[in-house]
């Protein structure tokens, strides 16, 4: 009986198919990716069973952290941010250079008072979360800086949309669950002064039980 000859097969596999698949996935991820917005603070939001989602565009964000400090943010719209910053610069004599205004285009949300803004924009991106820049935007009636930001952002937004627009920007309020109600009430009051009456409370998904 002759011996059964086992042919030696190469262990190498054709990588072409795998390469195809991996590049397909890569293309998918590159096209669908949306980078996580650069938020000044991470807050733990309360849970809800609501099913609506936050839109990508035409949203202004107000973040409230557990200590009741307010932060303001515009995401995914560099041009709008630059317009807002230059309007703020003109209105409140902040003496910002064009470079500094460009630097603002890269910032997602911020919590610095106007007096600290020049320093904030000149700081290295890694230093922007320094405690001295995280004191929160003043919201008291004496120096309502959040109101100024909202007014100027709305003006810039309406100019960009054109006068005829029927769209209304939405405002997302992202509060830490331990934040006190008075701060939220004050922020809602500030927004209502600007005729913004529809809000979106950002929440986490909670199981319906």
């Amino acid at each position: 009986m002759p011996k059964v000859k086992i042919p030696r097969k190469s262990t190498l596999v054709d990588m072409t198919a795998m390469c195809d698949v991996s590049f397909l996935l890569l293309t998918f991820f590159i096209l669908t990716t949306q980078f996580k917005p650069d938020e000044a603070v991470t807050v733990q939001t309360p849970g809800s069973i609501s099913k609506s989602k936050l839109p990508d565009v035409d949203v202004f964000t107000v973040i409230v952290d557990s200590a009741g400090r307010a932060y303001f943010g515009i995401y995914n719209h560099e041009v709008l941010k630059k317009t807002v910053m230059s309007a703020m610069n003109d209105a409140y004599d902040m003496n910002l250079t064009p470079e500094e205004i460009n630097a603002f285009g890269k910032i997602g949300s911020f919590g610095a008072p106007l007096s600290q803004f020049k320093n904030l924009l000149n700081a290295e991106p890694t230093d922007r979360k320094d405690p001295k820049f995280m004191t929160g935007i003043p919201i008291d009636t004496a120096s309502n800086e959040l109101g100024k930001w909202v007014t100027n952002s709305l003006d810039a937004w309406y100019i960009m949309q054109g006068v005829e627009t029927k769209k209304v920007p939405s405002v997302a309020i992202k509060g830490h669950k331990n934040a006190g109600y008075p701060v939220i009430k004050r922020i809602i009051a500030i927004l209502q002064e600007e005729n913004l009456n529809k809000f979106k409370f950002v929440t986490e998904l909670k199981a319906k039980n």
Binding site: S10, D14, S22, T33, P46, G47, L54, Y181, K200
Partner: protein, 193 residues
């Protein structure tokens, strides 16, 4: 470079021809696959698939003329359909129906972890809804529950969102967040402890 030889059975069928050695046009794709998967991993980790989930709130327009109008509307609110929830400090809330402040219910520890507290208030709301639905009087038929939410200054954002969530859960169509009045504060302060 490693050569791929998958043609164990003489791939091209014609057999081997003798002649000058032709170098294979195949190249090893393993490093390329490595690179591609590295990038896939990077994009997978940085991407945000799920958009944040939001709860829509519409506040009444603050306009002098309209405010007067609203006050008229408020007086029209029937006692039978009204429910008031006062959110106090330390996760406490009290509620009563109509103007029946004697029958005030107090709920302590109104936290997401405390299911019993949720269940109590949910049951009160659904019972009231059923009661209103069962009403056959043609005059008062089709009246829905109207919940007035009054958060005090000591309440937390979590409590407010939880109460609003309760409204969505029990499908209460009409609710409003209203500033708390002096009379409500005294009701709250005199609650059973």
């Amino acid at each position: 470079m490693a050569e791929l030889d998958t043609s164990g059975k003489g791939g091209h069928g014609k057999g081997k021809k003798k002649g000058p050695k032709k170098s294979s046009t195949r190249i090893d794709l393993t490093p390329m696959v490595d690179l591609a998967f590295l990038l896939v991993t990077f994009f997978m980790l940085t991407t945000t698939f799920s958009k944040p989930q939001v709860m829509d709130i519409v506040m009444p327009v603050k306009d002098k003329e309209k405010q007067e109008e609203e006050q008229i509307n408020q007086t029209e609110l029937r006692q039978s359909e009204a429910m008031t929830i006062i959110i106090g400090g330390k996760d406490t809330l009290i509620y009563y129906f109509g103007l029946d402040t004697a029958k005030t219910q107090v709920i302590g520890e109104f936290k997401p972890s405390n299911k019993a507290a949720y269940e109590t208030i949910r049951k009160s709301i659904t019972d009231k809804q059923l009661e209103l639905e069962a009403d056959d009087d043609p005059k008062t038929k089709k009246i829905n529950l109207f919940v007035v939410i009054k958060p005090t200054d000591n309440s937390s954002y979590q409590n407010l969102v939880d109460v609003l969530d309760m409204m969505n859960f029990t499908e209460v169509k009409k609710y409003a967040i209203v500033d708390v009045a002096e009379s409500d504060l005294s009701i709250y302060n005199n609650r059973k402890k």
